[in-house]
């Protein structure tokens, strides 16, 4: 059962091992599938749906769906990317994403995903404009949950890597939010060295004292689209 097999992504043959997800096999083959909640080293969550591909006549999350022999996967097509762009756009509308004043700008995966998916058209989605208080109680870390995209990376990192459980979900549906396990962050076991503090894709978990330390032009996504390091493996 450990025999490798092939399946196809956008007509390209991809090698996979049994148990690998579509995304893991794609990564290894140098094919990038957009993602926000998935992060190397964390267990898969399948929450954001930005990685949605068409496979076997169904829409599935590539980060959780196992690859299967002979499967035909549609990934980088205008139809898939349009749906992904709508999802990303809704995340922008759900929070307060004023990139020009955000310390994460240039290093932010949500913003970089918007670039990759060409989010430039006028939109008719309503702006929810949340008004959640900033939690600046911790000496080294600040939380601006108005930028949180509920990806759950911090929750998984805190539980599985740090063994702490500093973060968790509260509420349901559109009211589901990420909260800290205490009255505020200062009253949790959070430390700035925690893995959880390094995995936030957006400018929600902020390290104090850093500000805009990396100049424009030298930030993570100033040169190259998000995912280019994976795509370069194929060239």
């Amino acid at each position: 059962m450990t025999d490798a097999f092939t399946f196809r992504i956008d007509g390209v043959d991809v090698l996979a091992r049994p148990g690998q997800t579509i995304m893991e096999a794609a990564d290894a083959a140098g094919i990038y599938i957009p993602r926000l909640c998935d992060h190397e080293g964390l267990r898969h969550q399948g929450g954001c749906r930005v990685c949605t591909v068409r496979a076997g006549g169904r829409s599935v999350a590539a980060c959780t769906q196992p690859a299967e022999p002979g499967l035909d996967v549609e990934n980088d097509t205008p139809a898939r990317n349009r749906i992904r762009r709508d999802l990303v756009e809704m995340l922008f509308h759900e929070g307060n994403h004023l990139c020009p004043i955000c310390e994460k700008s240039g290093n932010c995966e949500l913003q970089a995903m918007a670039y990759r998916l060409e989010m430039t058209q006028p939109t008719r989605f309503p702006w929810l404009e949340p008004c959640r208080a900033l939690d600046a109680s911790h000496p080294d870390i600040a939380l601006d949950t108005n930028r949180c995209i509920s990806c759950g990376r911090c929750i998984r990192a805190s539980q599985d890597i740090d063994g702490k459980g500093v973060f968790g979900y509260v509420g349901r549906g559109i009211h589901r939010r990420v909260a800290v396990n205490g009255p505020d962050l200062a009253h949790t076991g959070a430390a700035v060295t925690d893995a959880a503090m390094a995995v936030c894709p957006v400018g929600c978990i902020i390290r104090k004292g850093e500000g805009f330390s990396t100049p424009i032009g030298e930030r993570a996504f100033d040169h190259g689209l998000i995912g280019h390091e994976i795509e370069e493996k194929r060239k």
């Binding site: 004023l98 020009p100 670039y115 060409e118 430039t120 404009e129 949340p130």
Partner: protein, 186 residues
Amino acid sequence: MTRPRVATVSLAGCFGCHMAFLDMDERLVTLMARVEFDRSPLTDLKTFTRRCDIGIIEGGCCNEENVHTLIEFRRNCDVLIALGQCAIMGGLPAMRNAIMHADDPLRECLEEAYLTGPYLRNLTRHVPNDPALPLILDKVYPCSDIVDIDIQIPGCAPSGDIIFDTLTALLDGTFHGFDRARLRFD
């Protein structure tokens, strides 16, 4: 043959997007030779002299006058461009939108600005209400909330490159969207 006419305006913006025109450097001369400016802070014309081919809007709408101006631009321009994050999504002025969810928020904001703030010297003890002052809106609106926008050029401010390439492609009739590697929201 008459040259295409361009009109520009700064609504609730910082004028940075107009300053970004200068980042086109010497290409600005190339562009100027191809177009004629109508209503614009660059010409100091306050009204349209005739219909324009391209209208460029900096800033969103934070007051009544912004809305009227924007509607006038839509009426008088064939292609309407929202230039920069303020025009596209409200930008920095829209930071006030989140606090506006409090009770009677605009009053609270004006009272702090003009009556109760700690660093004030306001002898009239009034919130300014001269009829010449445009009425402030409940929140800052992106341009596309008010009128149809044809093209949005992102950035705060947009780079000289993206402005030049977009306008040149428009004049050549070859605009088919942006090079995604050039997109920036800051």
